[in-house]
Symmetry: C2
Subunit: 343 residues, 2 copies
């Protein structure tokens, strides 16, 4: 390429960059990155955090490679009532598993599920549900699991809204994910739910690729099928229990960096928020409070309501949030819309 | 912004894009992405793979988000003789650990290391070395570990070259890492070495960020220090043994995608290469053969030489490579230069 052409590229590039910068600055000033949020402390906190950590000359600037934000899923990014979506999937798979192992039909929780008695199923304890999770989500190759889970997640519907679960994501939180990514943050899901399950839909639903999903995970076993092809088979053996202390431990294991921002909604997220908040510089720890019985649900001691099987937001957690300046998001007051299909 | 200005931006942008495309195409045609490689089957295979998987209209096109390449470290990206660098670090830490726990001074391998008897230390078995690794690389917070390991890696020198270990990376492999990244691949290190250890220098040395290092990992334990600040303490408890079958298992756990390209140099990489090679479409499985006693080392049965404590490249692995069209890289014949400081 001749040097006159090179000079021309340089000149023209300079002009374009200048014009684009002017246009960009004007566009940024005009566009609200969080349109589904009411003006209030929560929205202000998010915007102030992003501005502080991305202003190059500022005292709280965070270099792009260190920008990590972690999000709990159930109750933080989407609906967790009446029970975690993955448990719904697991319950739906019980007949398939019992058909293969008929001896299970008369065993404890499997018998209850096969009875079809809704009240009894709703009363299953977490240990009983975990037994069902282990039996229904293992024993197949990872490809078979992905195939089955994908089929289910595209067809199953939530009992209240009669819509796919993936439509029951919180629009304001999708905006936070996008806003952070637009500002150079890597967004991770850090969930007590199954890592393999969430990875099936995380990219399409949240824009979070599989490698940025940290979740409760079972071991896999490497082997070969009859034709000698390598396989990874899911085993009923827990590798990472990604709840409570397991969240910061899982974050260190999978990411190796302390997050600058973390979002949760229950006691299972407490340690992740503590660990995030204890870092140097600007850190953002936020908790979603389910206090909107009309548009979604209201539950938990922090609302003065009875404890729930899912997403326990205790008074103690509320008190810790106050003490440590974690920001509590009121679904009722902070969110203009909850779902993308809301008016 | 007025619409005349907008039109101007559009016009000028079109001109710049055209000129940049012309310049880019010329530059690409002129620049060899792998200048430290001799022309041969290995170099050809890498370039053919990248072209096939990144040609949008081609039958083997891989969408950018699925472009994953995994690299073993010891013996594949840097020197592993006379013993893995991490073991060197671990041996150097023995006096510190013994000072804290004097009862170890008379126990098995610790006594040997404290004796300073080089021949006896060189003869320690892998299980003895693993005992030392567990004792010297746990019991501190992750921040303390990072601090100590960073200090060591910037000062310690290899006994043969008298240079920092991080200078003993293979220049041809650094070029492969860059070439793949320039073509949209996410490059991961998948090492039998310690995940936390490699993460200390991976970004600076290889351009691989900590979250893209999968390695042998111990558990951490979440707790609080005396002032109530959260801590993660490294425990002597194995979570992931990232060797052999542990490599594809670790890849599924940490990445959740099957690699399109994998690079190794020993039987510990066999399953990773099998798993990679068994995927659909274009896949690249490559093995580095240490056959250059002058510029680096020659070792292992595939060279007709005795087996070594590190990086076992058996005849059986060589035979599998031939059968499955994995490409064997001869350090002697395929690499013009081995280190960046080579002439």
């Amino acid at each position: 390429m001749k040097s006159t052409a090179m000079r021309r590229v340089a000149q023209v590039t300079a002009i374009v960059l200048f014009l684009l910068l002017v246009a960009g600055a004007q566009a940024a000033a005009q566009t609200d990155p969080l349109p589904s949020w009411n003006d209030g402390a929560a929205k202000k906190a998010i915007i102030a955090f992003v501005q502080a950590t991305t202003t190059p000359a500022g005292p709280k600037f965070v270099p792009p490679e260190a920008r990590v934000a972690t999000f709990d899923q159930d109750g933080t990014l989407w609906v967790e009532h009446p029970i975690y979506t993955q448990v719904m999937y697991s319950l739906d798979r019980v007949p398939v598993v019992v058909a293969k192992k008929p001896e299970l039909a008369n065993v404890g929780p499997f018998k209850t599920v096969m009875s079809g008695d809704h009240a009894a199923i709703a009363n299953l304890s977490m240990p009983e549900l975990e037994k069902i999770l282990a039996a229904t989500l293992s024993g197949m190759t990872v490809e078979q699991f992905n195939h089955e889970a994908k089929k289910w997640i595209t067809t199953a519907k939530h009992p209240r809204w009669k819509r796919p679960y993936t439509e029951l994501t919180y629009q304001p939180m999708l905006e936070v994910l996008k806003y952070l990514r637009a500002n150079g943050y890597k967004t991770y899901i850090v969930t007590g739910g199954g890592q393999d399950f969430v990875r099936v839909y995380s990219e399409q639903t949240y824009g979070v690729p599989p490698e940025q999903v940290v979740g409760t995970a079972g071991a896999t076993k490497y082997g070969y099928d009859r034709s000698g092809r390598p396989t990874l088979t899911k085993e009923p053996k827990l590798l990472l229990n990604d709840n409570d202390a397991g969240k910061p431990e899982g974050i260190h294991f999978m990411i190796g960096r302390r997050p600058y921002a973390a979002f949760g909604n229950s006691t299972g997220d407490k340690q992740m928020l503590e660990y995030t908040g204890a870092g140097d510089g600007a850190r953002l720890s936020m908790l979603v409070l389910h206090d909107d019985a009309t548009r979604e649900y209201a539950y938990g001691p922090a609302n003065g309501l009875p404890d729930s099987k899912v997403g326990t937001f205790t008074q103690a957690l509320y008190d810790e949030a106050q003490k440590k300046n974690w920001v509590v998001i009121s679904m009722k007051n902070d969110w203009k819309r909850i779902f993308s299909f809301d008016p």
